[in-house]
């Protein structure tokens, strides 16, 4: 297949899959088979696209031209390729996990669940392949809307409230700020294309550029920078597979991906480096990193704690984008992949614990290592990768980000990253450690502790994600090379 055909199919496969899921809804096994095969097919297409495309000279696929001179069009570039690879690889794995989880948990409306899931993936692919800001915005909004039924899946009062926060914040920020920034950019430059070195002319007023940058960063609500982060903990009412893929990978990474794209291709890192406001935004990201970590320590609900950890990790990438140095961008880009594998492992484990041991609180997990040794081991590896210890993937992205803060020269940012690593240990690594070394507290000690793990499909998914965490340590070179191609 040619490059353009591949791009078309990458967008179409998840859409077709969602229709297929709706049609086969009465036969759960067939329905899940559709999801899995679509996922595998999608990843192989993205991989094929990665293999044949020359990133120096990408072709573009024009879908429509809704505003004269401004198209909806798709093409491939390094950051987008990385995002597409990560999201499409983790989709079938999450489905595998979801089969175990959703059935054991006896969730209702599973057909709607899998169908909306597929549409969300299509939107994520669209975001990854967007050639300009308008296209990105269109898919960004589709992603918000298609994940709404997933967040409110339970259909009770709690999920309705959460859905309100979710939609209100994501749509409010994107319509109020991001759209404004976009139209303003269009008015100033007459283009919204992602270009090397940015679209603004050298004479552009720095004050206006500063305002625009702020609008872009806070307008991208999916990146969850404080004070616009509340939707992410709220979204944790969703079934765990949703939290795992969408609220640790696809949706939130779409947010930080948008910020990376904006800083590299609309502003250009040289412009960012020259803007004083970028340092302030990096500072806000630093504040988010620390505050979210501190809040995470106080949360006893495991998924909420992971959500705050995600907020903190996302701001690593925002900080990387705002540093205005190459290492920051590369580090931020790598962190998209590294954090994705680490955090999805953690969410998979949290779901496994919920299904097998019916526990949702951190304080209840003492001694669980004996009942669920595999899950807890995976949790340990995932959290170590997020802390940034070798031999796990997270090492490299954190390394690059720290190097970025040093190149930027504000030592305070370096300190933030180092302190944050320590905080990670305090609120993440401590969980598996206590699970292994502390005795069970509500001990009905008479009964011998039998091994009681999650369903096999879920365990399989966890093991793939863990393997990813480890392999990325040794295979980080291709990612580095790929992202180096931006400059």
């Amino acid at each position: 297949m040619t490059e353009l055909q591949l791009i078309t199919w990458i967008l179409l496969i998840p859409v077709i899959a969602s229709v297929g899921i709706l049609i086969t809804g009465k036969y759960p096994n067939l329905r899940e088979a559709v999801s899995i095969f679509a996922g595998i097919g999608l990843f192989s297409l993205v991989a094929q696209l990665a293999a044949i495309t020359s990133l120096e000279n990408p072709q573009s696929l024009v879908l429509a031209e809704p505003i004269p001179g401004l198209t909806l069009s798709l093409s491939l570039e390094p950051l987008g390729l990385l995002f597409a690879l990560v999201a499409s690889f983790l989709w079938p794995i999450t489905i595998l996990y979801a089969i175990g989880y959703m059935r054991t948990h006896q969730e209702k409306n599973q057909t709607r669940f899998y169908a909306a899931f597929a549409v969300s993936i299509a939107a994520a692919m669209g975001i990854a392949l967007s050639e300009n800001m308008l296209t990105l915005f269109v898919f960004y909004e589709i992603l918000t809307l298609s994940t709404y039924p997933l967040v409110t899946h339970a259909g009770n009062e709690k999920s309705r409230k959460a859905g309100r926060v979710y939609l209100g914040l994501l749509m409010g920020t994107s319509v109020g700020f991001l759209l404004l920034a976009m139209i303003w950019t269009w008015q100033l430059t007459g283009t919204l294309d992602f270009k090397h070195g940015g679209v603004f002319s050298a004479e552009a007023d720095p004050a206006i550029l500063g305002v625009l940058l702020v609008l872009y960063v806070i307008g991208t609500g999916k990146a969850a920078i404080m004070p616009f982060h509340r939707w992410l903990p709220a979204a944790m009412v969703a079934p765990t597979p949703v939290s795992a893929l969408l609220h640790a990978v696809a949706v939130v990474k779409a947010g930080v991906f948008t910020i990376l794209k904006v800083s590299v291709y609309l502003f250009g890192i040289d412009t960012i480096a020259g803007l004083a406001v970028a340092d302030w935004l990096a500072g806000l990201a630093g504040l988010t990193i620390l505050l979210a970590s501190l809040i995470a320590m106080t949360k006893d609900n495991l998924k909420t704690r992971l959500a705050y950890s995600t907020i903190s990790q996302l701001s690593y990438i925002i900080m990387g984008a705002m540093l205005g140095v190459t290492a920051g961008i590369i580090g931020g880009g790598m962190h998209i992949a590294m954090h994705a594998f680490g955090k999805i492992t953690l969410f998979f484990c949290a779901g496994a614990i919920m299904v097998a041991a019916h526990k949702t609180k951190v304080s209840e997990l003492d001694g669980l290592g004996r009942r669920m040794p595999f899950t807890m081991l995976a949790f340990l590896i995932g959290s170590l990768s997020i802390v940034g210890l070798p031999p796990f993937g997270g090492t490299w992205s954190k390394w690059m980000l720290i190097q970025g803060t040093m190149d930027n020269g504000i030592w305070l940012f370096t300190m933030v990253l180092l302190i944050s690593s320590l905080l990670n240990i305090a609120y993440l690594v401590v969980i598996p450690v206590r699970a292994f070394f502390k005795p069970e507290n509500n001990s009905n000690a008479a009964s011998p502790t039998a091994i009681n793990e999650a369903p096999l499909a879920s365990l399989l998914a966890i093991s793939i994600a863990v393997t990813g965490c480890i392999l990325l340590f040794f295979w980080s070179e291709p990612i580095y090379q790929l992202l180096g191609g931006i400059f």
């Binding site: 429509a64 809704p66 859905g163 749509m171 109020g176 759209l179």
Partner: protein, 493 residues
């Protein structure tokens, strides 16, 4: 002269003659049939007119062969052709939907009269658009208004009578103002032909009579337009009118009034006079913005969904007026685009509400509980129409918002740009109340509710698809709107 040359008058005359025909036939089914037929014929004529104007430029049709300015002239320029197209298209779709809805909501012995009044209102609106004569505008305005009062009063709820009466009072004041305005212009220039007026007015522009006439005209049209704060008649009128009437008036009547406003301040008077000599731009921008924010806020608190969307219409009129007030080509393009786009979204939304009223006999938010499961297609259409109202891409609403915000930014009025978007966020809130009620609420177990019949779903979904189609494929709408806007704002002149 061949048949094709008479199109500008035929588009008005055919519905006008259908009205007495409905009364003569006096059978519900026959009256409906001739009405939909005449709506469709006018629709095809309007398509033909768009082509003719696009090819040959403005059409000037002399009624009875009398040369203007002595005789009455019908003048179809790009904007007029475009508005005719909108009105006739919506009328055809509404007629398709009307059959079942009218059978349910109107007593059988009055159905033929209902269609007669409907055709009169339709013809009146088309006449306002097509004519080039100021007094003719007044006549057609009264034809459409008087028949609208009758139509609204046929609502099932007895409060419809009250709503209709309020509208009658306000509408008559508006019409009188317009008449006084036209009269004073006639006094100063001795002509009623709008093109002729435009040529003669500059000489006498600096007199108190002309300025007073201008003020009377704009206030009068403002009343018809439901421009904030002259909108008080609208929410009740829309809420209590029969579903068919609400769908038709919401999608067309306000659009024609906006058209008339553009015609008067840019066609009869000049941009310099209306916006520089008289401070109309500041006035329109301010009132438009207050209208957007206040009406959207009020909409959030409405218990009746029909009334909620009526307030939303007041807000949307604010967007259109705001675009005119910005007084740039982009602003005008935004207004004209929104004229078209808003007709598509409100047409869809009010038809959907009509379908719901048809099935459950109410449009109160309480009764929406669980409708997402019971009437999936209708509710999906409301969600889609709502997204368009909010301005989410790829819908038509997004395109209008884009141009409007762009127009504000071009003038470096960024607080206005921000307020426009705040209006969108308020729309998210009131649309989502509805979504939550329909999809999270429990259906009433004692009530059996079915999906709406196909004759309602068909026009509904045609409009929904149009909302998306014209949001992606915008060559037609943006092309027409921007060339009409540059024609009006005198770039060519």
């Amino acid at each position: 002269m061949s048949f094709m040359d008479h199109l500008p008058i035929l588009v008005v005359i055919i519905p006008l003659l259908t009205a007495p025909l409905c009364v003569l036939l006096n059978r519900p089914i026959l009256a409906w049939f001739v009405s939909i037929l005449s709506a469709l014929i006018s629709f095809f004529i309007a398509i033909q007119l768009v082509f003719q104007v696009n090819e040959l430029g403005t059409i000037s049709y002399w009624l009875g062969g009398w040369e203007p300015p002595w005789g009455i002239e019908y003048r179809i320029d790009l904007l007029a052709a475009y508005v005719l197209l909108i009105v006739t298209a919506i009328a055809s779709l509404v007629m398709l939907f009307a059959k079942k809805s009218v059978e349910k909501e109107i007593p059988e012995n009055r159905i033929a009269y209902f269609y007669a009044a409907f055709m009169l209102a339709f013809a009146g609106l088309l006449g306002i658009v097509a004519t080039g004569d100021a007094f003719n505008v007044f006549v057609f305005l009264e034809i459409s208004s008087l028949s609208s009062y009758a139509l609204i009063s046929m609502g099932k709820d007895r409060r419809a009578l009250n709503a209709s009466f309020t509208y009658l009072i306000m509408g008559t004041i508006g019409a009188t103002f317009i008449l006084i305005g036209i009269g004073s212009l006639y006094m100063m220039t001795g002509t009623l032909n709008m093109a002729d007026l435009a040529a003669r007015l500059p000489e006498v522009a600096d007199t108190r009579t002309v300025r007073a006439g201008f003020a009377f005209l704009t206030v009068g049209v403002g009343l018809k337009l439901a421009l904030f704060p002259l909108h008080l008649w609208l929410p009740n009128a829309y809420a209590y009118a029969p579903s068919v009437v609400t769908a038709f008036l919401a999608a067309t009547a306000t659009k024609v009034a906006v058209y008339l406003l553009i015609r008067i301040i840019l066609g009869v008077f000049t941009l310099d006079f209306s916006l520089q000599l008289m401070p109309l731009d500041t006035l329109l921008v301010t009132l438009g913005l207050i209208g957007i924010i206040s009406a959207s806020l009020v909409a959030v608190y409405q218990g009746d969904i029909k009334r909620m969307f009526a307030y939303s219409s007041v807000a949307q009129i604010g967007y259109m007026v705001l675009g005119i007030g910005l007084a740039t080509t982009t602003g005008l393009t935004a207004s004209i685009l929104h004229l078209f786009n808003h007709a598509l979204m409100k047409g869809a939304l009010f038809i959907a509400l009509g379908a719901i009223a048809f099935r459950i006999g109410s449009t109160s938010i309480k009764d929406f509980s669980g409708l997402g499961k019971r009437m999936p297609w209708t509710m999906a259409a409301i969600v889609a129409g709502g997204l368009s109202l909010i301005g989410i891409p790829p819908t038509v609403g997004f395109i209008s918002k884009w141009y409007l915000v762009l127009a504000a930014l071009e003038l470096e009025l960024w607080p206005i740009a921000l307020l426009i978007l705040v209006g969108s966020i308020l729309a998210v809130i009131y649309i989502w109340r509805l979504v939550e009620a329909a999809y999270f609420g429990k259906p009433n177990p004692y009530q059996y509710v079915q999906e709406a019949p196909l004759s309602m779903l068909l026009p509904l979904w045609i409009l929904v698809i149009a909302n998306f189609y014209f949001g992606i494929q915008t060559d037609f709408s943006i092309g027409l709107a921007s060339s009409a806007a540059s024609e009006l704002s005198g770039v060519g002149r």
